[in-house]
């Protein structure tokens, strides 16, 4: 008997969302890397993380590499674009936390504008630890960068009205809907944002991310279920491309934080951090992420190569 290859054809398709002027995200009609089933859509995109303040707690070698630019996020963004050419830059306002610089939304907007002017790739804006403050920061930043089509990470259940109205409706940018590792919560937030008037082409989603080893099975299963609902059952409320800030999680777990002196057998701390970032990124790309945010330039290079190998 001759071998017959199975095929899974789906009626649904993930929407294509354009970040900035022309960075296309999503658009696939098959499971991740299933090019043998059909159209992969746009290859997954990678962004690099920078902060509005000089970073702390980052690995020594990386700090050494960026020491001349870390004081100035605009220069830092330029440095990454020139040397690594990421698809986008993620500017994260750690400096807005009360225990760092407690920056005002106006200050954040000023910085975001400078960074936007300094590079020709789109931005993804990420906030601080407070949802309430993020609503105010995003409003100001979205106003300063009106109609740029930049993404804002994120609108959560607690602030989606303010963030959705400002980012998505008033100032023509993209809202990232963030929920915590549950298909129904993700769906509900997408619906709420849509009811508010945010257009699906102005939406991305982050259904929740953790590092491998830290409840990552929930992340994978949520992604599996979202993609199957979107493709198999043609659930339009879940056909929103997925963006995940890998680095926000992987660099704070024990495997990436513990110093070599404390666990000598584990070896170099930076190597461990990169490995955790790579494995987590591959883990979500294989389950359905359309874009990932990474911190270390070496992880970035590896994930870029991985995506190329899997989509060529």
């Amino acid at each position: 008997m001759a071998y017959v290859k199975p095929q899974q054809k789906y009626q649904g398709k993930i929407r294509e969302v354009i970040l900035g002027e022309g960075l296309k995200i999503g658009g696939e009609s098959v499971l991740p890397f299933y090019s043998f089933d059909g159209d992969l859509g746009n290859v997954p995109k990678i962004g690099m993380e920078i902060w509005d303040i000089p970073p702390f707690g980052w690995s020594e070698k990386l700090m050494n590499e960026i020491k001349d630019v870390a004081e100035d996020p605009a220069k830092w963004a330029q440095y990454y674009v020139k040397n690594y050419n990421p698809d986008f830059i993620t500017l994260r306002f750690v400096g807005a936390n009360p225990d760092t610089k407690d920056r005002t939304p106006e200050e954040c907007a000023e910085i975001a504008k400078k960074v936007a002017e300094s590079v020709n790739v789109p931005l993804v804006i990420a906030g601080c630890d407070s949802n309430e403050k993020n609503a105010r920061i995003f409003t100001k930043v979205a106003e300063a960068l009106a109609d740029k089509n930049y993404a804002f990470l994120s609108a959560v259940e607690a602030n989606y009205k303010e963030v959705g109205a400002a980012v998505g409706l008033a100032y023509g940018n993209i809202v990232v809907a963030e929920s915590s590792v549950d298909l129904n919560l993700a769906k509900q937030l997408n619906i709420l944002l849509t009811q508010l008037g945010v257009k699906p082409e102005k939406m991305l989603m982050n259904p929740g991310i953790s590092a491998v080893g830290y409840g990552f099975e929930y992340v994978v299963t949520t992604l599996d279920r979202i993609k199957l609902a979107a493709l198999e059952q043609n659930d339009t409320t879940l056909q929103i491309p997925i963006i995940m800030p890998i680095s926000f999680e992987t660099w704070k777990v024990k495997e990436s934080v513990a110093e070599k002196e404390d666990v000598p057998e584990w070896g170099d701390r930076e190597e461990r951090g990169i490995a955790m970032e790579i494995a987590t990124a591959v883990g979500v790309l294989t389950a359905g992420a359309d874009a990932v945010i990474l911190r270390h330039p070496r992880s970035f290079e590896y994930i870029k190569r991985f995506i190329k190998e899997m989509t060529n």
Binding site: D129, V212, G213, Y214, F216, V220, E255, A275, V282, R298
Partner: protein
């Protein structure tokens, strides 16, 4: 085709005799459909019906074994493509590759790194389970020397013999057969001889072909020789092609319900790239989809920590969340004056909370009572996270002897528990902590500063 409970019911005698241990034939039929009971339990079924049933209820993917004693492992036996549909059953196993053209120094270093990776993560021992020993030299003496060395020095690992030469394979099997090795290397040319060696010793036989079509034909030929302890592999040269092959082997078994491909697969990610982090990338992908043996060039903690953690997550049964052991955990250099926090025994919650406590750099104690393995709010709603369970843990784990503080920090989401806990723990004061774990570092730093 798989039968439904109703299909099976039609084949049963419908006597409701209860001799199978079930109250009715219908209940028995439903259990049969789930694969939870053997059809032979029914004493009154016709032979024809029995045959039909055993064919239809045989697993689509075979469960195979290798190793020996406490190092016996099962592979395959998977019933779903996505873990939420039921669960993944038999976790993949990792192998590190040795070959007999490597220098002695290289081999020694590799053995020492491999033996060095051995640790416990949430009640599971983590180490490389397989030593893949490849004959590259075509020289039997040389190969046997390496195999003996690996056998003697990698005590934790089961050998995987890799050769396509039946003569060498035979000698190798004789050397290590008590360890239950995997014999890898049946192909189009040698399969008859290799099947004989595997059959004689009841070994798991690795089968390899250029592509899926060739592999399919080869497995059919091996089936006709009556051997079904197989591990499948293709020689795909690109990651993309190998992924396609592995996914389709699984789908052929589970969707097309064709048992020719109803076996676990082995992937050699070390063939796809020499770079260790590219191997890490591919291995991570194949843990999720759907390899059973993943062969790496080498191992160290930077690879082991993410790979074993990812595997542990993916193979967690969705119906049985991971729990950490109850007890009192010391974070950092905590002493008798350090703060005490309490949270639930749901592994994910514990990991996030202990991670944030670590990040705060404030040495502290984390008390884990028996909270049923649920998250904070669920455990509270179920009455498992209460004054009673917390007071019991304080007593059981000798908290009052270990530390001097009589303040206990509880998750902000269960602030309502304050008086319940204070009633159950005379002399203690409850401090309501943060609603989100992410706020713990700031909270703890402020709390510690206020106390000192």
């Amino acid at each position: 085709m798989a039968l439904t409970g109703m299909d099976i019911y039609k084949l049963l005698p419908k006597k409701n005799c209860k001799e199978c241990g079930f109250p009715t034939c219908l209940a028995f039929a439903m259990k049969l459909a789930q694969g939870g009971v053997d059809a032979g339990k029914c004493p009154y079924m016709s032979d024809e019906a029995k045959k039909k049933l055993s064919e239809a209820t045989a697993p689509l993917m075979k469960t195979v074994k290798f190793g020996s004693g406490d190092k016996t492992y099962t592979l395959g036996g998977e019933t779903v493509l996505f873990r939420h549909e039921k669960t993944f059953v038999n976790r993949n196993r990792f192998a590190v590759m040795f070959n007999d053209t490597m220098s002695e120094e290289e081999i020694n270093e590799k053995i020492s790194r491999m033996n060095g990776v051995n640790y416990v993560r949430i009640n599971e021992n983590m180490f490389v389970e397989i030593a893949a020993v490849k004959c590259e030299s075509k020289n039997k003496e040389k190969y046997m020397e390496l195999l003996k060395k690996v056998k003697n020095e990698c005590k934790l690992a089961v050998p995987m013999i890799i050769t396509d030469d039946p003569e060498i394979a035979k000698a190798a099997v004789d050397e290590v057969k008590e360890l239950g090795p995997i014999l890898f290397g049946a192909n189009e040319e040698n399969f008859e001889a290799m099947v004989n060696i595997a059959k004689e010793n009841n070994l798991l036989l690795g089968v390899e072909a250029e592509n899926l079509e060739a592999l399919y034909n080869l497995v059919e030929k091996i089936h006709s020789l009556g051997y079904k302890e197989l591990l499948l592999s293709t020689k795909a040269e690109s990651a993309k092609q190998l992924f396609e092959d592995v996914v389709n082997i699984r789908r052929t078994a589970l969707i097309s319900q064709d048992r020719t491909f109803g076996y676990p697969t082995a992937v050699f990610v070390n063939r796809l790239s020499e770079d260790k982090f590219m191997q890490l990338s591919y291995a991570s992908m194949f843990i999720e989809k759907y390899a059973s043996i993943i062969v790496l060039d080498d191992i160290d903690y930077s690879l082991a920590l993410p790979l074993f953690a990812l595997r542990q997550n993916i193979y967690t049964d969705p119906q049985r969340p991971m729990r950490v052991e109850q007890g009192i955990y010391k974070i950092g250099q905590a002493d008798e004056n350090s703060p005490l926090l309490v949270t639930v025994d749901f592994a994910l919650t514990y990991f996030i909370v202990s991670g944030e406590v670590e990040r705060s750099k404030v040495p502290a104690w984390v008390l884990i009572p028996d909270a049923g393995g649920y998250s904070v709010l669920t455990a509270w709603a179920a009455g498992k996270f209460s004054g009673k369970s917390i007071a019991k843990a304080v007593k059981d784990f000798g908290v009052e002897d270990k530390i001097k503080t009589r303040e206990i920090i509880i998750p902000g989401k269960v602030a309502v528990l304050k008086s319940d806990i204070e009633d159950a723990l005379p002399g203690w004061k409850v401090v309501v902590g943060t609603e989100e774990a992410a706020m713990i570092p700031k909270f703890l730093r402020d709390y510690a500063a206020k106390r000192s």
